[in-house]
Assembly symmetry: C2
Homo-oligomer: 325 residues x 2
């Protein structure tokens, strides 16, 4: 069975899709009240974010566009020290998409939402004629109450320590491998990160800044932090966790692992006194978590090799990999 | 100048687009803090909604896709008796789109936001290769504090009065005319409706249910209400405001004005005692506002002609007009 334009018309078929697929999988009273907007309870500081997902292919090693859509938005909320609570979901579907593919995407989303402890409370479905969109795009927006206020890219000070939650470059490598039709066993890191973040907060770690290293990769996060806080960051190449497969494929295709997108990997800057404790906590979630460097006052992002040579890491330029997420 | 894939890579060019176009037009401190998620203050009941806009053509009589994106999301919030406060915006742009077109869309959005008294506090930009999307899709999500709680499609009771805020079918007719290359002076009704709603609330009108009649038109709203509240609704054909141009074009193309999308027209069900007062208020915003009918207990939506004949109005079926909004 294929999705036809009628499913996007706002009439009977749209209602059927909403009831038989979306309500069935995202079931909760707020969503099912089917008002123009969801009404939820919020108190005090609220994190609010949006992300559109256009990844190609829509199914990849370690996930699919639906898993990405939940992880991406929940993670942006978590990075502000907030618990992902309520999510909205906008589907833009090309007519002719197999219903089974949409169903698999939706089921994956429901599973990820459960892990995040979040709910989809409002949605929108557009079906567009063949050629107006490639298969499916998904937008997710989300809100959550800030549990630990004050986390910000503007907070970094000399001496703060930078930790990465796991080995970098996986999601970008997986999409690149699909794109160039290279067979590989590497899986995307795509994952909701709230549990890791909540554990850091509950352990009383003095978190200065936190960011998931998505498009633009680790290079973009470090440069944006350096710029926002008016500091430098020095990273030790030998401490940077990168799997052999990622290094191998990056060498073949001429990519820099630090520039590649991650979808379940975050960077956290903490006060030096808490650095080892934070690393230890993150290692329980993924053994490759590692302290990778520290904040300096020279306003540049620098990578130091094991033999002492240094090179600047800049904000990535150019098109990198279109439709990576 | 054209938008290239590099503008979506998450690196230097993306930053340039964000600073030179989005921050410049949507300027506010929360957005410009450029964190992973916006942090805003919310209290108590919050309305939360999302909508993706895929309209074709992206510029039409009376508006463009940007105006639609702000009006659509602000209106969904307003329909819950909530003030639209914070908006997120996800752009999905086809490479090759003229920068000038994007700029015009963004400027229109800024103007509409000002009318709504709302702010864009977070955003996302994807640029996808030619052929993966047609020109531009925009998702907007929004939150707002509920000022008048309890408005719901489930509230209708026999005797409540149904009012429409202006003449129906304009937006659908305008898009249809563009699609069939018919010249017309009709303008879309596309408009933020918060001022109208706020005035009704401040006047103490006992609002039962409120909904903007977008995809599926007035037919969809009335059927969804009847279904949600387990009631019927009887509409008087002679009181239904429809412009002559809309009637004329609908006759030519075989559309039913009640099924056509509106983007700045809402239906409100009020307690009978407040009906005339509510109509009077809405007439100040648009002289075609009209009491159109009342809630019955027969579980059907019925249209009564001036000579007394009745016909059922059903939930629209089939594809209607794809990419209407």
């Amino acid at each position: 069975m294929k999705i036809t334009l009628a499913y996007g018309g706002g009439g009977e078929e749209t209602n059927k899709l909403i009831h038989d697929l979306f309500y069935k999988n995202f079931s909760n009273p707020v969503l099912e009240s089917a008002e123009d907007a969801a009404v939820v309870e919020m108190n005090g500081k609220t994190a609010f974010t949006t992300d559109s997902f256009t990844v190609s292919p829509i199914f990849f090693n370690g996930g699919n566009i639906g898993k990405l859509a939940i992880a991406g938005t929940c993670n942006d909320i978590a990075m502000m020290g907030a618990k992902p609570e309520y999510i909205t979901c906008g589907f833009m579907i090309e007519e002719g998409l197999e219903f089974g593919e949409l169903e698999e995407i939706v089921k994956t989303m429901a599973k990820e939402l459960e892990k995040a402890g979040a709910k989809i409370v409002a949605g929108d479905t557009k079906v567009v004629p063949a050629g107006s969109v490639d298969k499916i795009f998904i937008n997710t927006s989300g809100i959550g109450t800030v549990i630990k206020p004050g986390i910000s890219a503007h907070n970094l000070k000399k001496g703060d320590v930078v930790i990465v939650s796991r080995d970098i470059g996986r999601h970008g490598t997986v999409v690149m491998a699909h794109r160039y039709e290279v067979e590989t066993d590497i899986e995307s890191d795509c994952k909701v990160l709230w549990e890791e973040v909540e554990t850091l907060i509950n352990a009383g770690i003095d978190i200065k800044a936190m960011r998931d290293a998505t498009r633009g990769g680790l290079s973009a996060v470090l440069n944006e932090w350096a710029d926002a806080s008016g500091v430098g960051i020095e990273i030790s190449e030998e401490k940077l966790p990168i799997s052999d497969e990622v290094i191998g494929l990056c060498e073949i295709f001429g990519f820099e692992p630090m520039d590649l997108a991650n979808e379940g990997t975050f960077v956290v800057a903490v006060d030096a006194k808490d650095a080892e404790k934070a690393e230890e906590i993150l290692k329980k979630f993924n053994s490759s978590a590692s302290i990778i460097g520290e904040v300096t006052d020279d306003r540049k992002v620098v990578l130091t090799s094991p033999w002492g040579s240094k090179r600047y890491i800049e904000l990535p330029k150019g098109e990198l990999l279109p439709r990576i997420c």
